[in-house]
């Protein structure tokens, strides 16, 4: 079943690369939305059907963690799996993400097959796989 994916990163280049990597990985994607920060991402989630979010952590206006906190407050959006794609990997970030229910972390640099495997497992867990 193809999914509607939201990619959130302040770098337009990175958004395109992530999109390309998801496509190359073979992950079934129906629609792909993009946002430049957490605030824009929230607007997309309210306007479109989003099944999965891939987000950077460090972004202007609203970072990935703040965006995740906002989404988790709302029943309607709480179940959307969220993955952080980030170059900054530390225990505090992982702990905070886990407490919020963030699905996982994809470290930058990444390879497409890593993305595919993680995303596929996540969607299976949510019952949409």
């Amino acid at each position: 079943m193809p999914y509607n994916v939201l990619i959130v990163d302040d770098s337009q280049t990175m958004r395109k690369v992530i999109r390309k990597s998801v496509v190359l990985s073979g992950f079934a994607m129906e629609n792909c939305w993009e946002a430049g920060n957490g605030k824009e991402a929230l607007a997309v989630v309210q306007a479109q059907k989003v099944d999965l979010i891939l987000t950077d952590f460090n972004m202007p206006e609203m970072n990935g963690m703040e965006m995740a906190q906002e989404l988790k407050k709302t029943e309607k959006y709480r179940q959307i799996p969220i993955f952080f794609i980030t170059a900054q990997e530390n225990e505090a970030l992982r702990k905070e993400g886990a407490a919020l229910g963030v699905q996982g972390f994809i470290p930058k640099p990444f390879q497409p097959e890593v993305i595919r495997d993680l995303l596929q497992k996540a969607m299976e867990k949510t019952g949409n796989g």
Binding site: S11, Q12, T13, M14, V17, A87, Q88
Partner: protein, 162 residues
């Protein structure tokens, strides 16, 4: 100091290979910079007015300061083109964005390679085009310089952390 340098070299190699499929060669040890920079014209493309893209990130945490990356203009454009899988040349803005994102990956990975327990705050990358003459001034600043060769072109990573 050597540990940081070795980790930086390993991080650079990993990122260039994983994301860009490029193998980079670290150059001879330029050592900690004590006010004397290596002349770019000796190692760069040979054109005194050749442009480079520079990206800077501010770091706050157990170590603070900044990390800068200098990439030749032409190399940046070709890397961005390949990165995005495009046939046509990319605009300068997109090449600069790529350099910023590259530095973001380098900085995050470098700081994490020391310890995953320490939290650092990284600024957004600040990107600009600079020419060789401006670069000579920048390279004379205090800091750790690591040079790499990519297909005959020079890349510099400058680490100013304390």
């Amino acid at each position: 100091m050597d540990d940081l340098k070795n980790r930086a070299a390993a991080v650079m190699a990993n990122i260039f290979e994983t994301m860009f499929f490029i193998f980079i060669e670290p150059q001879e040890d330029v050592g900690p910079n004590e006010g004397e920079g290596r002349k770019l014209s000796e190692t760069g493309p040979g054109n005194p007015s050749a442009q480079y893209f520079k990206s800077s990130i501010q770091v706050e945490g157990e170590l603070s300061g900044q990390i800068k990356l200098y990439l030749p203009h032409d190399l940046s454009r070709s890397m961005a083109q390949n990165f995005l899988g495009l046939d046509e040349e990319v605009p300068q803005s997109q090449a600069m964005d790529m350099v910023g994102e590259l530095l973001n990956m380098i900085s995050g990975n470098l700081l994490s390679s020391g310890s995953k327990k320490i939290v650092y705050k990284l600024s957004m990358p600040s990107n600009e085009a600079v020419d060789s003459q401006e670069l000579e001034k920048e390279f004379r600043q205090q800091g750790m310089n690591l040079d790499f060769d990519v297909e005959g072109q020079k890349i510099r990573l400058q680490i100013q952390l304390h």
